[in-house]
């Protein structure tokens, strides 16, 4: 859930783990080059890991219950 790291692209620098607003990653370079998302449901989707990853290896997968409710704006105009 939220942050998803592309193992191919990740350079193992640990920036995401270090700067995470919610401290959700665990980076143990001796065990795995790629940080692990240890507490996914504590992500605040602040985007820091995405913005600061030097390799562009992180993206956020926003959970379904966070869906942004919307309608076509035209539908508001049609009814007015």
């Amino acid at each position: 859930m939220p942050p998803v790291i592309d193992r191919e692209k990740c350079v193992g620098c640990g920036t995401c783990a270090d700067i995470c607003n919610s401290h959700i990653f665990l980076h143990e370079p001796d065990k795995d080059r790629v940080p692990r998302v240890r507490f996914p449901d504590e992500c605040w989707h602040c985007d820091s890991c995405v913005l600061d990853c030097p390799a562009g290896a992180v993206r956020l997968r926003i959970p379904l219950p966070f869906m942004m409710l919307h309608v076509a704006s035209e539908s508001l105009r049609r009814q007015s």
Binding site: S22, D41, V50, L51, P65, A72
Partner: protein, 562 residues
């Protein structure tokens, strides 16, 4: 026992390296404090509510506003003005443009349109209070400025508690107990501090999350700011305005502050504007309806006339492009990426908005105009302050002035040995006991239980009420939960121990809220008492304090500081 890894000394120990905390650290160093440290729960580069940006800085610019009074009165008479002591607001506005110039010099873009421009959060035809800026690099810039001045930053070091000494009946802060959670194995760090400045941000996670009750980190502001007011509370400092709920609004169900960055009109499903202020998107004023009719988004659901949509479709393509850029300045990039991935376009889609759960944003620690609390040597700044206003500019101001005064105070004080403080030892043993337990509920169970109790027994109005019987019942259930938490909670690593500490803080804050809500025998803003339905005009110029004295909760009204 969890080991003590280090004992540090500080003229000023700043707790929380957000906007207020970093400004305090910088200003204390400028004012001559030699040992300034910042204890930060996450990493100062990207922590707190300003992590990835903000775009409105409330500011008095003489050449535009002419008189300070114009903007002062406008703020005091708005919903966010009610909780403030006017003297602090006046001082913060007086200093605001100087702070803007400072930020600009350090490399934060305070003129994204090329000139100082006031936009958003504004009534058509009136002077506008908020300077539009681009805060996307603000945390990195403030971090660099702090380091440049020799400030030592301890990331991944949340503060768990404060140490205080009693001298001639008065309390004085002497140090901080922090947790090193940089690795899974926890360790304590003790800080002997001549002065301490708390700047832990607002408090979230006390109420069930409005948009997604099962996901407690889907919040408008930083959810890792949770319960910091309790550090001051346990030290005996006075809190203020804890009973007046603050309820933010924004997109549904992706919770995020920043509604004034949207350039649209709030509309009913039939296209009618919800408020009287604008009929088409206005890049200069925005739609202030969401600020002044705070409960609109809930009202329309309950009376069936909703939902309410944020409709930007009448904006020009230039205005929409400007808004998209501003969303990056404001720290909304995750939301922009989500919209892109889902092919949502504010020019073509209208987004439903909602009210979120109550938070403690500009509710909490009482400070005097120099940012000192009622405990000597203990200062506070930012969203955790209850009488100074919430937001970027008040945080920057109180941080700045607090750092300066703390430095002056520290210059004539000496260090106190805290290692043998019995209260500190007791707290360290409590935290160690959580780690030793083989089984038991974790922090999340306790946090959800607390949210249930607060949502049921101290809810925010206007559609839910409080009363003496409900509040007293809430107090009883809270004590039951507290007893369970202290004797059974279990933590497995430094991260969950940090979360456990937050829950203990939230429990203390909840206690303050329930007692203050009981003492405010009237209805005011979101505090609706079914047994006191009126707003008492005699209390318009009064503030309600709540504090801990000899283990007892005390409350009392005082006059506002004009």
């Amino acid at each position: 026992m969890i080991p003590v890894k280090a004992v540090l000394e500080a003229d000023l120990a700043v707790v929380g390296g957000g906007i207020g905390g970093l400004m305090a650290a910088i200003s204390a160093a400028e004012a001559g404090a030699e040992k300034v440290i910042v204890l930060e729960k996450a990493h100062v580069r990207r922590s707190g509510s300003g992590a990835t940006g903000n775009d409105h800085f409330r500011c008095f610019l003489p050449e535009y506003h002419k008189t300070l009074d114009s903007i002062l009165q406008q703020t005091l008479n708005s919903p966010i003005g009610m909780t403030r002591d006017p003297v602090i607001l006046r001082q913060s506005l007086e200093k605001s443009f100087e702070l803007v110039r400072m930020w600009e010099e350090w490399g934060i873009n305070m003129r994204p349109t090329g000139k100082y421009e006031f936009m958003g959060h504004a009534f058509p035809g009136r002077l506008r209070p908020s300077l539009k800026y681009d805060g996307r690099n603000q945390k990195a810039v403030l971090m660099t400025q702090a380091k440049k001045r020799g400030v030592r930053i301890f990331n991944h070091h949340p503060a768990l508690d404060l140490c205080v000494a009693e001298e001639d009946g008065a309390r004085r802060v002497t140090g901080v107990l922090a947790l090193d959670m940089s690795v899974p194995e926890p360790a304590f760090v003790l800080v002997r501090a001549k002065t301490v400045l708390l700047a832990t941000g607002l408090t979230h996670r006390m109420y069930l999350t409005g948009p997604t009750p099962a996901y407690m980190f889907n919040t408008s502001h930083c959810p890792n700011c949770a319960g910091g007011q309790a550090l001051a509370w346990r030290a005996g400092a006075r809190l203020v305005n804890m009973e007046i709920p603050y309820v933010h609004a924004g997109p549904k169900y992706f919770a995020r502050a920043g509604k004034a960055t949207w350039i649209g009109v709030y509309r009913y499903p039939d296209g009618r504007p919800v408020g009287p202020f604008i009929t088409r998107p206005d890049v200069v004023y925005g739609d202030i309806t969401g600020d002044v009719w705070n409960s609109a988004f809930t009202d329309v659901l309950l009376d069936g006339s909703g939902p309410v949509y944020q409709d930007c479709s009448g904006a020009s393509s230039e205005e929409l492009a400007f808004m998209r850029g501003a969303m990056f300045s404001e720290g909304l990039s995750a939301m922009v990426h989500y919209m892109d991935e889902h092919e949502l376009d504010p020019g073509k889609h209208a987004f439903e908005f909602m009210q979120y759960e109550p938070t403690f944003h500009g509710r909490g620690v009482e400070v005097k105009p120099d940012a000192e609390t009622s405990v000597s040597g203990l200062f506070a700044a930012g969203d955790m302050v209850g009488n100074g206003g919430a937001g970027i500019s008040p945080a920057a101001y109180l941080g700045w002035t607090g750092g300066e005064h703390a430095a002056k105070k520290a210059a004539v004080l000496s260090f106190t040995n805290i290692e043998d403080d019995p209260a500190l030892k007791e707290r360290m043993e409590l935290f160690s006991s959580f780690l030793k337990r083989e089984e038991g509920p974790d922090w999340k169970e306790a946090n959800f239980a607390l949210q249930q109790i607060m949502s049921d027994y101290a809810p925010a109005g206007p559609h839910r009420v409080r009363s003496a019987t409900l509040l007293r019942a809430g107090m009883e259930y809270l004590e039951q939960l507290r007893a369970e938490a202290f004797s059974h909670l279990r933590a497995g690593c430094s991260h969950t121990l940090m979360r456990t500490g937050e829950v203990l803080d939230l429990l203390d804050c909840a206690r303050a809220v329930l007692h203050a809500a009981l003492a405010r025998e009237e209805s005011r803003a979101g505090h609706r008492r079914s047994d006191f339905r009126f707003t008492n005009p005699l209390l318009n110029s009064r503030q309600l304090n709540v504090w801990l004295e000899g283990g007892e909760v005390k409350t009392g009204f005082r006059d506002k500081w004009m």
